[in-house]
Amino acid sequence: MAEAAESPGDPATASPKPLFAGLSDISISQDIPVEGEITIPMRSRIREFDSSTLNESVHNTIMRDLKAVGKKFMHVLYPRKSNTLLRDWDLWGPLILCVTLALMLQQGSADNEKDGGPQFAEVFVIIWFGAVTITLNSKLLGGNISFFQSLCVLGYCILPLTVAMLVCRLVLLADSGPINFMVRLFVVIVMFAWSVIASTAFLADSQPPNRKALAVYPVFLFYFVISWMILTFTPK
């Protein structure tokens, strides 16, 4: 037990003290060793992860990752100014979305006649290199967002366009005509606007305030190109 010894002549006690000033007056006897682990929270968390994630079952790992991805999808669909996407970035979600989009946009086997549709590799490369270019651009403009965080945000904000692709595919099952095209155009435009707004909500805070427009414009072009690919998709 620590014995508290007050020193009456202590100049610290004379003036109005801050909250824990009295603690400095406690003296501790030499019999009792004072020891313990002073851990910094981040480090202990990492040690926890190292031992526990290796031993858990595959089901647990997959479910945990899927839940994290799903939570981020919710954040994209209802964009608020939060930094969940930025804090715990991961690239699973963008990968899933990119592969889904590229599979749906694939034109099948190359015919001699109409060979103009995007192939899987093309869509994949466009999305990833476009995201890398936008990230480099925003970093060069003086933003303080990290490389992978930016990739994460841009990839997750493709979700509305993937939904638009699904809707367009369903609409194309009906007979084609101008009404068909108008419906698809409307859906794609709405989802394009949603993507741009969502990514702006996450990315805008990382830019210096007077250069936000410069960083947002390439994002706009990027989602425009993806929307164009979705809108002009016609199945054989």
Binding site: I38, R43, D115, G116, L140, L221
Partner: protein, 347 residues
């Protein structure tokens, strides 16, 4: 009288309370991947030494922590513990050395700070430069200033790619080898980089005072005229309108570039060579973009004029990835003569 409690792992807190603020700012954990990412977090070259400071601090912590852990183990295990401790230390040191080398190489080659000064622009500056690229300046006795930035030109090239894609799809262009996206990107970037280098080479021959960065910027901003013309004429399909825009808008941006080059070159022959080449390439590129990717409009005029016009035969054109010059002239001639023939027929 006042003694403070001394923690046993005192060396662990090598980063004392005054450095505590840095630890909160460090994101992520201690794995190598995220370490690299943290080095990327530095948003300016003046912060690179801060990033190194973080790195060193964390390494010290890890070292101190490892040492403390080994001390505890060593006490328990005796001789065996000592050998294990030694091998662990050696492995640890090797890993640290390797990581340090890798991060140094990474920061050397993946250093985008080289390009940072060229992206230091404000939106108002970009807007004013875009507008100025259409206004030729008369004063050619004095070398005119060229803004050496790369943001505007890069964005204009990407915008041109987007407009080309839009135009290609509305025109049913069939491309054999290669894809629409690949062709568009290759064309635009190839023009921007290739013609800039060529003009820089000619400027070197003609002794003009212009640097590579300035030719890149000049040509990039010259693409603003192309973007406007193509955007308008891909949506309004009239050949006469295209020729008008080609001369007006294309001509204005060419005149501006020519004026800048003339102000920086001495001697009539050199001026003629340099400016003639640039003007020719610039205008011909716009022509090429329009005709190689744009549908010929006989079909539309056909439906507008009614049944007395003999129906034009529209042959699906196969356009290889690179359009040879001979085919281009044939296509252009075809297009113009057909348009002329239709307008003559209608009168």
């Amino acid at each position: 009288m006042a003694t403070t409690a001394a923690p046993a792992g005192g060396s662990r807190n090598g980063a004392g309370p005054e450095w505590g603020g840095f630890e909160e700012n460090i994101q992520g954990g201690g794995s190598a991947v995220i370490d690299m990412e943290n080095m990327d977090d530095t948003s300016g070259s003046s912060f690179e030494d801060m990033g190194e400071l973080h790195q060193r601090l964390r390494e010290e912590e890890v070292d101190a922590d490892a040492a403390a852990a080994e001390e505890e183990d060593g006490e328990f295990l005796g001789m065996k513990g000592f050998k294990g401790q030694l091998s662990r230390q050696v492995a640890d040191q090797m890993w640290q050395a390797g990581k340090r080398q890798a991060s140094r190489a990474f920061s050397l080659y993946a250093n985008i700070d080289i390009l940072r000064p060229y992206f230091d622009v404000e939106p108002a500056q970009v807007r004013s430069r875009l507008l100025e690229s259409m206004i030729p300046i008369k004063m050619v006795n004095f070398p005119q200033k060229i803004a050496g930035e790369l943001y505007g030109p890069l964005m204009l090239v990407f915008t041109l790619v987007a407009i080309l894609l839009h135009g290609m799809k509305t025109s049913d262009t069939i491309i054999r080898e290669g894809t629409l996206m690949g062709t568009a990107i290759g064309t635009c970037f190839g023009y921007w980089l290739g013609v800039s280098s060529f003009i820089y080479f000619l400027a070197y021959l003609c002794n003009a005072q212009i640097t590579m960065l300035q030719t890149l910027a000049l040509l990039g901003y010259g693409l603003f005229g192309h973007c406007i013309v193509l955007f308008v004429t891909y949506n309004i399909h009239l050949h006469a309108l295209f020729y008008l825009f080609w001369l007006l808008v294309g001509g204005l941006s060419t005149l501006r570039m020519v004026a800048v080059l003339v102000s920086r070159t001495v001697g009539p022959t050199q001026r003629l060579l340099l400016c003639g080449t640039l003007a020719a390439l610039h205008m011909l590129f716009l022509l090429y973009l329009h005709f190689a990717y744009h549908k010929v409009v006989e079909g539309i005029l056909d439906t507008l004029e009614g049944p007395n016009i003999p129906p034009m035969q529209r042959v699906p054109r196969e356009i290889p990835a690179v359009l040879p010059a001979a085919r281009l002239s044939a296509v252009v001639l075809n297009a113009t003569t057909k348009a002329v023939a239709v307008t003559l027929h209608s009168h």
